[in-house]
Point group: C2
Chain length 532, copies 2
């Protein structure tokens, strides 16, 4: 990479003439193909990031371009996972987002030379960044990262000039600080760039000394990357995916985790009432404590149709304060949600510190209904397991709780409930042709659920399969598990870092239930003894 290159105005005009049209056409093609484009624009102060953004708005169709700067995080951002602020501004298909610095500013903030360390270590930031870029690019986002380079001498000259002209406008204290750290920034870069320079999200290091040369280089890098992404998209579309049915034959040596659940578990009405009140009182108090300590909860409810999700959620949300609880029922996405990465709509509702978000159905739709119905292609749902694990890891970071419930009922019980719904005026809307269709596909769903348990049952975000043949039993179980998780989170030391994706064997889910069952039986025995 040679530095200090330049173009005369005449040279610039000559090159620009065709390049502009080519770049414009590449953007049109991305709009047509609904490819989201993320340009991360970084560089040292004075390298002309703002000017490059303006140049891009001029050459591209500005109606599809948005700039986003990330100054100090707002408290809404500060109290959510680090990546939340980027997710909320990700472009829809066809849009171009120019992110100033974005997560690379985060890496700088977390690097050792800044006095005020961020929440995470630099390495953690780098890992989270590559993970995010991989997730996005695999789902078809074009990501280009630009570093506008200035030599130290040039940087110092420009800085001096700005000072003399009183043009030193620092928008954040960080801004001013970073201006003093040329050498340190370069050091961080030399570590960061090789680690994050991937084929799917490459770095373009651009000599920013000469304005003409800089703009032409940015345009060329962007054109090249967009064309690559467009070509990849085309190849992709031409490969006929194997039909969905073949894909369902995953190798499962064990019998289904669901078949091993003891559905006979029950609770007597009197016991239920007593236990319910006790648990609800406890959960009310514990969630208040969690609110004060800033521990957030993400609860996921999945399971068979008519499994009793709604009832269980209501028993839980009755005791948590409505002001900190959000129930998000997941149905078909809006056009805005559809135009984004499939996880975007769930990121929108991620709880703030101390808050509770209950998802009634969730991102697991990707590996359940979307897989079974063929809405997602094989490579898409396959990839989703890792993406989901990474997403949940973000949610858990530090001290937050993620719990996933699968409400399990037998086929016979489901049929009985379907029929009951059809006979109850205010439940009729709950039963549709789709529910009957899903019922027919129960085997495929079971297979999908088994693979899901296998691949997403992590130590930090475990699955709980709840025997829900008895609605009352299931409700108590859900409350009990939530209470225990809260207690645990409140008692353990804060800032426990999640190091890696630890998968739990599915066996443990079953054992968990079995031990609960045993406990119940023991209790019953004791009670019977007492009564005797």
């Amino acid at each position: 990479m040679a530095l200090g290159q330049s173009y005369t105005n005449k040279e610039y005009k000559k090159i620009a003439k065709d390049l502009r049209i080519e770049l414009f056409n590449a953007q049109r093609a991305c709009i047509e193909k609904k490819i989201p484009v993320v340009i991360i624009l970084s560089g040292i102060k004075g390298s002309g990031r703002g000017k490059v953004a303006n140049f891009l708005s001029e050459w591209l169709d500005a109606k599809f371009v948005r700039n986003h700067a990330f100054l100090a995080p707002s408290d809404e951002e500060e109290t959510r996972p680090t990546m939340w602020r980027y997710w909320r501004h990700l472009p829809a298909g066809g849009e171009t987002a120019v992110f100033f610095g974005a997560w690379y500013t985060q890496i700088l903030r977390n690097s050792r030379f800044l006095e005020k360390h961020g929440k995470e270590s630099m390495l953690e930031s780098i890992n989270a960044s590559t993970q995010l870029e991989e997730t996005l690019s695999k789902s078809g986002t074009a990501i280009l990262k630009i570093w506008l380079h200035l030599s130290k001498e040039e940087h110092d000259i420009r800085r001096k000039y700005r000072k003399q002209a009183k043009e030193n406008l620092y928008y954040t204290p960080n801004d001013e600080l970073l201006d003093d750290f040329y050498d340190e920034i370069m050091e961080v870069l030399q570590e960061t760039i090789p680690q994050t320079d991937k084929a799917y999200a490459p770095w373009a290091i651009i000599d920013a000394y000469d304005e003409n040369y800089r703009n032409i280089s940015v345009a060329r890098a962007l054109l090249q990357h967009l064309n690559q992404c467009l070509a990849a998209k085309e190849v992709h579309e031409n490969i006929k995916e194997a039909t969905q049915k073949d894909d369902n034959q995953i190798e499962m040596n064990t019998i289904s985790a669901l078949d091993r659940v003891d559905l006979s578990q029950n609770i007597e009405k009197e016991d239920y009432k007593e236990k319910l009140e006790e648990l609800q009182t406890e959960v009310a108090r514990l969630t208040f404590e969690a609110y004060q300590k800033g521990i957030s909860t993400t609860l996921v409810f999945e399971g068979w149709d008519a499994g009793g999700k709604g009832g269980a959620i209501r028993r839980l949300s009755t005791c948590t304060d409505a002001r900190i609880t959000r129930v998000i029922p997941i149905s078909s996405p809006t056009s805005e949600e559809l135009a984004h990465h499939y996880l975007w709509r769930f990121w929108r509702h991620v709880p703030q510190a101390g808050y509770i978000t209950i998802y009634d159905r969730s991102w697991y739709g990707r590996v359940l209904v979307e897989r079974v119905e063929g809405f997602a292609q094989k490579h898409e749902w396959r990839r989703a397991y890792n993406e989901i694990n990474a997403f949940e890891k973000e949610l858990v970071s530090d001290k937050n709780i993620v719990i996933k419930f699968w409400l399990h009922i037998s086929s016979e019980e489901q049929l009985r409930r379907f029929k009951e719904r059809e006979d109850t005026p205010w439940k009729q809307h709950k039963i549709t042709a789709e529910d009957w269709r899903n019922r027919d596909a129960a085997d495929a769903y079971k297979l999908a659920a088994d693979e899901m348990f296998l691949r997403t049952n992590t130590s930090y975000a475990p699955w709980y399969i709840i025997p829900a043949e008895s609605k009352l039993f299931a409700r108590i179980e859900v409350l009990r598990i939530y209470r225990d998780s809260l207690k645990n989170a409140l008692s353990t030391k804060q800032n426990i870092k999640v190091e890696s994706v630890d998968l739990l064997p599915v066996q443990e889910i079953i054992e968990e239930n079995e031990s609960v069952e045993k406990e119940k039986k023991d209790k019953k025995k004791k009670k019977e003894k007492k009564e005797k």
Copy 2:
């Protein structure tokens, strides 16, 4: 209103049986008719707001119900107009939003008895509330306001019990404070309720002593209001609106404001370059100062197609820092935006304190394209003038700036630019069949624009008609006006309150331009003299 009423469980069950079905059906009808429902749930601590919210989730189809509590505003909310936090959570058509307290908590906060006064006086809060409710209800939102009443004795009993049971969970300091102020709250209510009890957004005062009676009363009040709204909607749909064309004959005694603009105004290239640099440098410095002082800017660009909006915006956004500037191009709304009030999509982008939002086309589409093309009905766009004035008043409150530009060109110049666009590869996309259609409807647009100037040219958010026959002249004018407005805002005392909607006569817009023109001529003369 009798207090202390109650239902036995048996009575409750008997009433509930039919009522539940009726309420459920009313909700289904609202979903079908895409009517958004807002329930404001307020009451003193211990009156069971949370329980009522849970009760509603049980009786209604919970998939369409969202609860929203408004604890202390986040900094993202604090740095925007007061109503922003409510707008962002307004329900889409068919959804029901249960707002805890909402703007009535705001009124309490701003009332005289609380030590920490809010930003505004109580009266201002009440006015803003009724304005918002009127805006929403006129566009078809069903709004019901519920006050759960407890006698002072009962409140004290419950409070004592909570203390003993250690169930006094205060989620905010305010929460705790309000618990001490029974009498004062009642006093505020006696003032607020009569002022805000409107047919379109009625209050239901409900005796909350007995749980059964309370729930039944809430259900009845909601049922009654939903049925009223449904009936109103039906009447509405049956009235055939007069065709759009008849409506365009508004009485304008004067000739069009646009016809009186001197389009011959021009600037020489040399002058332009000099002036541009001077203005851009000034604007850069002033916007930085505004950022530091928390003064936000909302800029609106309207005008004929090919009037040069994009170029003018770019000259402006080049000099404001990209990190605090957001350009929002307005095209067709997303499905999520379509499902909300038409102003909702603009509220989303309202700038934070110190930031700049530039709307490339705006909410004025309601009274321009939607009027001319008949997308909005007559009563809808008629109403929009007031709604827009109220919206802009919210934006301006205190010290923020709202400036509206109309870039005006002659029909001949437009034709020339259309043709030029067709001949330039990267401009071809800018010219579509729609542009040619709009051109054919130029007279109707002119009429609509004239009425718009007449009705929305307020002292706090003035219109500037920019002669844009010369692109260079227009760009300089836009920058000059923005610079002057910034200077003005920075020099005047802070916290100037906007008292009412003051309309400026359209004449002033023209005079403004004429005086500028005169100034130019004088300068030219001086220059010529000098040269002599």
